[in-house]
Amino acid sequence: MAPRAPKADMSTRTLISPARLARPRGRLVYWTCFALVVVLFTLAFLGPLYWMASSGLKTTQEAVQTPPTWVPGSLHPENYGRAWEVMDLAKLLFNTAYYAFGALAFQLVLDVAAAYSLSRLRPVLGKAILGMMLATLMIPATVLVVPQYLTVLDVPIVERNLLNSPWAIWLPSVTNAFSIFLLKRFFDSIPKELLDAAAMDGAGPVRTLWSIVLPVSRPILGVVSIFAVVGVWKDFLWPMLTLPDPGAQTLNVGIYSLATSVPENVLIAALTIASLPTLLLFLLFQRTIMGGLTAGGLKG
């Protein structure tokens, strides 16, 4: 289950045989295709991003001009400042980070504890509980939105209305059966001898978890953390419903609800700013993120 390192070395045999590639004609075709693909990919994936960043620099008039201009006629970096201020992006970014990392903390504590208990402590009814958790994977998430929303409006027993409170994001994020499943499967694979040795030393479950299990589980914890943060960061419908207060909105919802109330160029500038944090994060941690994806199985 360890992340597979990307293999690009010459030894990997693929569709086209190395012998054919070695021939001069083969090499010419290879390099032509390569150049073509690189250019096409760059246009397809960076082109829209260039368009976004550059349109944010245009005047309002130029941004909605027919036909559009490929390069801004004059540069207006102040659009970015205006977007930052008018849409209160600092607050939206802070809110989103607060929800995302809060959800991460809750998942790391509660889901790891649960997976550890199910994998190693094995209480009575543990199997049934695991089964019920996994059963939630069968229910399409969007179907549950309505009853979940009604629950958040008036949580039974405790009788609290969680609307506009971060708890409306944090607590439901814990019900991530897939993460629990991944964690449990990883914990299952930890050699028994390692844990037995700890038990011999008189370590309780908490200490075993903390000083034996968690250190060897770093790869899977990374994967689960990425899923947790990215999940909250990219969610739209749920935060739109449960955090309607403009002061509590996430980046996605805030931009959506203010999209009609700013000029087009300022909106595009705001989109650029909103994209930056995750792009930077991605460029910094691309190996972990892309590796974690394939390691974590098939939930992308």
Partner: protein, 474 residues
């Protein structure tokens, strides 16, 4: 929701003395507002509480929570609110007004729905005219018929009866209005002049709209002559307005059958089809919703569209447009126009003194010429827009008085709205189950505006049968 947050803080025990005090006040108001029916829970227990028709006794001690107070970002409006509270307290020193503010729109449907469901609305809460059925479904508003009269709201007889009718159900009054609108034709004066048209004489019929739109679109450069919505239920909303302008109706008098699949309905759709496809004067981008046309006209990409006058304030404050660039005429053809607006309602079950205090405050702030909202001199000094023809709740003497004050302190060229003012088109309320019907009618609008070969008759007959089902359901 703010209360919930505070309550949690208290549980944790991390409260300063100040917020503890605030909590006590909130808790107190929470308890009293949940107590019993009106009348018997009267806070001060004085005798005047017994007669609903009598104005509030100034000695009565009342705390009133109210939403839609201007947020800090709207500094001038917030300052005015606070000044008004102080002035109000000179007459009623024992009434404490607790305003709650919202940074964005005061009312967003999901939040509003949740609030009604949780019965967490403040004592006095803000709604749109069309929200009345939903509020009553949730048993959320107090019948204030007995409380509102010439003594408590002196200008009552000069308030447009159409406006009051929107706040009534089965003859009972449930709210007091704060603003209203009648849809008209908003024009971009610059584009009118560029196209050789007279911006002071906006098109008066749909025929003229079509001619003008064609001329404006002829300017090229991606400029559209006339714009319409076709998404997010706003398409159906404007279809309704156009239909009303030709004397049509969405639902028949019995309220059970669609009434737009007729000559009038076809005229509306056919006219749009001709402008969109024969003349190509409505632009290529469709599926627009509220906010999109405002952006287009603010960047001089659109000649005209149907709008309420306060859209102009929005475009100036949010989109950087200039007041001088806009003018308004009455809705073309003008048999009737869509009318709507905002108001405050009073939470059901609060004490009769509270109801009286609420009415006294609302009357002072929103229905007294020269005071509160109608203190135009102050608004001008604070740099707020003065001179828009609407919101305008008034008729008769009060209208004359208020119009004169608006003109005197105007911060924009009021003559740009002369055409709109000169021809008051009768207002007509939105149909029952408005949002569900608008959703269906969106398809008529998007159909004709995005499909060149759309079958006008079929669009309307399909929509009519769908609306019939909407009306039959439940």
């Amino acid at each position: 929701m703010r209360r919930a947050r505070l309550r949690r803080t208290r549980r944790v025990g991390a409260v300063t003395l100040a917020s503890a005090l605030a909590l006590t006040v909130l808790a107190a108001c929470g308890t009293s507002s949940s107590g019993g029916d009106d009348g018997d829970a009267g806070g001060s227990g004085n005798g005047a509480g017994g007669d609903p028709a009598a104005p509030l006794d100034p000695k009565a001690k009342v705390t009133l929570s109210i939403d839609c107070m201007p947020p800090a970002a709207k500094a001038a409006e917030l300052r005015q609110w606070n000044e008004d509270v102080r002035e109000f307290n000179r007459t009623y020193p024992n009434v404490t007004i607790q305003g709650r503010s919202t940074p964005g729109q005061c009312l967003e449907p999901p939040r509003f729905t949740a609030m009604l469901k949780a019965k967490s609305q403040p004592d006095v809460f803000y709604t749109y005219f069309t929200d009345l059925p939903q509020v009553l479904d949730n048993d959320g508003a107090q019948d204030i018929s007995a409380y509102v009269n010439e003594r408590t709201v002196p200008r009552l007889k000069d308030i447009d009866p159409d406006v009051l009718a929107s706040l009534k159900s089965e003859g009972k009054l449930y709210g007091l209005p704060t603003s209203n609108y009648r849809m008209g034709l908003l024009v971009n004066r610059k584009l009118f002049e560029d196209a050789g048209l007279d911006p002071d004489a906006p098109p008066a019929t749909w025929e003229e709209v079509r001619t003008a739109a064609k001329k404006i679109a002829g300017l090229g450069d991606g400029i559209a002559g006339f714009g319409e919505y076709s998404a997010a239920n706003t398409g159906g909303w404007h279809f309704t307005a156009q239909l009303y302008s030709l004397g049509g109706d969405i639902v028949d008098a019995s309220g059970t059958k669609a009434a737009f699949d007729d000559e009038t309905g076809r005229e509306v759709v056919e006219n749009l089809r001709a402008m969109r496809w024969d003349d190509d004067s409505m632009g290529k981008t469709q599926l627009l919703k509220w906010g999109d046309l405002q952006k287009q006209i603010a960047t001089d990409k659109l000649g005209m569209f149907l709008a309420a006058p306060d859209d102009i304030t929005y475009m100036v404050q949010q989109l950087g447009a200039k007041y001088e660039n806009f003018g308004m005429g009455p809705i073309p053809s003008g048999r009737a126009t869509l009318a709507g607006g905002n108001n405050y309602m009073i939470k059901k079950g609060i004490s009769s003194d509270k109801v009286k205090a609420a009415i006294a405050w609302l009357n002072f702030k929103f229905t007294t010429p020269g005071k509160g909202h109608y203190d135009w001199q102050r608004s001008k000094a604070d740099g707020l827009p003065v001179g828009l023809p609407q919101p305008n709740l008034w008729l008769n003497g009060t209208k004359a008085e208020d119009d004169a004050a608006r003109k005197e302190h105007a911060t924009m060229p009021v003559e740009n709205f002369q055409a709109y003012m000169d021809k008051p088109v009768p207002g007509k309320a939105e149909p029952p189950k408005a949002q569900e019907i608008y959703k269906v009618l969106d398809n008529v609008m998007s159909g004709v505006l995005t499909n060149e070969d759309a079958d006008v008759g079929k669009l309307l007959s399909t929509a009519a049968s769908q609306v019939n089902q909407v009306l039959a359901n439940r």
